[in-house]
Point group: C2
Chain length 166, copies 2
């Protein structure tokens, strides 16, 4: 229920701000899209999302530089920011959130541990914010849900501050 | 469990054919990505997907012509084919499936009824196949699951025939 509540709150705020939402997801593999599409009034604010499960598809669909992926691995605030900005660029939405991390059960090929997740929120005209979380390894589904919850909260916060400034 | 089995079978066939998989989803909003990412060995074959919930995002992310969306509505075999081909073009994958339809609870803005779903499968070098299904209105989640099941089966069949001809 918590994810549902967070998604409803975000969609309501996005409508007030008259901004469409787009997502970019790696380890959550579309869960954020699922949750947003089920929110009340989603069809007016939720544009869609990019599920970029491999590094190659992060470059292909979202223009994440291959050199950045090599240097920082896929699980880094830098890559999360590039994903969020890529999603904005390839949509007409006004705000985006990206999630890239390791949901498990195994660490990734670069040695990033299960539970390490990076999240970023991008909006035109303000600096893209990226941050890192270390969730306890309570299982793949649980890590995915926590990551989506934090991404939805971060987008809602970004809309709140923008609205307060307007 | 049925979706899990279908996804495992598809990933196995894709590995044998040495082809990556990409998806394009509208009414299923990322469910096909979720299911594929949980399949055994997914990380070697599943590249990712495009969730295009609005008509605008179908044009923006997958180059579906706006005129086609106006003429045929979003729920048509023609738009499903354009989505599948757009997903291939914006990835390095070798096979794609697209789903566009009405999961409910209401008909869409163009009057397409709940349960009408169009699916297409695209591969380089062969004609893109699109077809239409009319599922009974047994609820949003049930319609989504049936659509994903049919898309996974259609991709597996497309890989089967290709392999037999090789």
């Amino acid at each position: 229920m918590e994810l549902e509540d967070l998604a409803n709150a975000l969609i309501k705020r996005a409508k007030q701000a008259d901004l469409g939402i787009v997502t970019a997801e790696s380890c959550t593999a579309g869960l954020m899209c699922q949750v947003l599409s089920d929110a009340e009034g989603a069809s007016q604010s939720f544009h869609g999302g990019f599920v970029t499960y491999t590094k190659e598809h992060k470059s292909c669909a979202l223009d994440v530089p291959e050199a950045l992926l090599r240097e920082k691995t896929a699980v880094s605030p830098e890559v999360a920011r590039a994903m969020a900005e890529g999603a904005l660029r390839h949509s007409k939405a006004g705000i985006s959130a990206a999630i890239t991390g390791v949901a498990g059960p195994e660490p990734d090929d670069d040695g990033n541990p299960v539970g390490r997740v990076c999240i970023a929120v991008a909006r035109h005209g303000i600096a893209t914010r990226g941050f890192e979380r270390h969730y306890p390894d309570t299982g793949r589904e649980s890590i995915r849900q926590r990551a989506v919850a934090d991404a939805l909260k971060a987008m809602t916060e970004a809309l709140g501050s923008v609205s307060a400034a307007a």
